[in-house]
Symmetry: C2
Subunit: 206 residues, 2 copies
Amino acid sequence: MGMGIRAQQKEKTRRALVDAAFNQLSAERSFSSLSLREVAREANIAPTSFYRHFKDMNELGLTMVDEGGLTLRQMMRKGRQRAEAGGSVIRISVDTFMEVLDSNPNVFRILLHERSGTSAAFRAAVEREIEHFISELAHYTEASANRSPVLARAQAEALVTLVFNAGAAALDMKRADRKVLADNLVMQLRMVATGAEALQRKLEHR
Amino acid sequence: MGMGIRAQQKEKTRRALVDAAFNQLSAERSFSSLSLREVAREANIAPTSFYRHFKDMNELGLTMVDEGGLTLRQMMRKGRQRAEAGGSVIRISVDTFMEVLDSNPNVFRILLHERSGTSAAFRAAVEREIEHFISELAHYTEASANRSPVLARAQAEALVTLVFNAGAAALDMKRADRKVLADNLVMQLRMVATGAEALQRKLEHR
DNA sequence: TAGATTAGCTTACAGCTGTACGCTCAATGC
DNA sequence: GCATTGAGCGTACAGCTGTAAGCTAATCTA
């Protein structure tokens, strides 16, 4: 078994296309501003050969969103393992998040930008990825802090919203400014956690 | 006083351009995807006449962001007046916000999209508009709830983040779904407010 | 080994883009 | 009244775009 020479070469070229697209992303360049020809050029491929791998740019983009979401979840899972060894869950999660942001900025860019983007399919794909985070987090809070489902869900949404918003801001920052931002984010997350707990108590005591 | 005929005509055409651009915005169409020629066409103007009013599309876009921010602030100020007549500040603010969203969706679209957009000038302009909200809100909380400046600021940022995030989600929703979203948002905002208060007390009691 | 498959190439084309240039002619200032 | 100004227009062009068509040559299949 194992892929034949042909399939291997094809996979390699496909990767070159995906990587080329990721590499062209920057603060000044969004996915939707990339042209098929630009990506093909960067991947050292004739424009028309692009079609051997993707139906159009849209299909490439969705592939990238899926891949990006996967990367993100893998990294955060590692962070959670680190948190289990002790320490503030919030702090460690934020630190992990910032590290991911630092090492994979372009994975982030496509998620952040296409979330408010112009294609319904893209928005849905990004929302699906974010939903993973929210429901994982909600489930965790519901179990560990004995939160009501509705409250746990609202809390998780708020936390993820604040984290992603901070992530967007951090993308264009120098390391020093990021530290301030991270501290501020931790403070906001604690607000939400504390507030959710207070609301929970109020619900129970009547 | 009183513009001459010439200046009046010019202003009218300029408005036609701005309005044409706003009208072309939709869930499927972002400002950066508009071409100069498209806007000129929609405004019933020759493409080259565009330059009599704006240096380029960028300048048009910045004008739109400024105008949008102004509209937004005016509407929210009216909401605040309504809140002074009594009732939950949070609830009334959220309702006002949803009304604005309903009547000026495209003002919102450009702010939301260009916030994570590809042009630094745009991002800065949007951030400036959002900063208005944050600092107004922080000032208000600092005074009325006797919050420490740092805490008040973090709280205000969190509130605005949650509201804008909900706004983005609400844009593509039907009225019924928006209601659910609004209720959920109110809950999250209360979490933040309650949590901020708890943190404040902790600071004072030691 | 002979024939079928297919990744990648070259060439080609129509459609769109931004914008340079120069004209017209109504409003303006003197 | 006459010269100046300037908003809007038409024409033109080079550069980009997505993609259709058909070829080549390496790999796969039987």
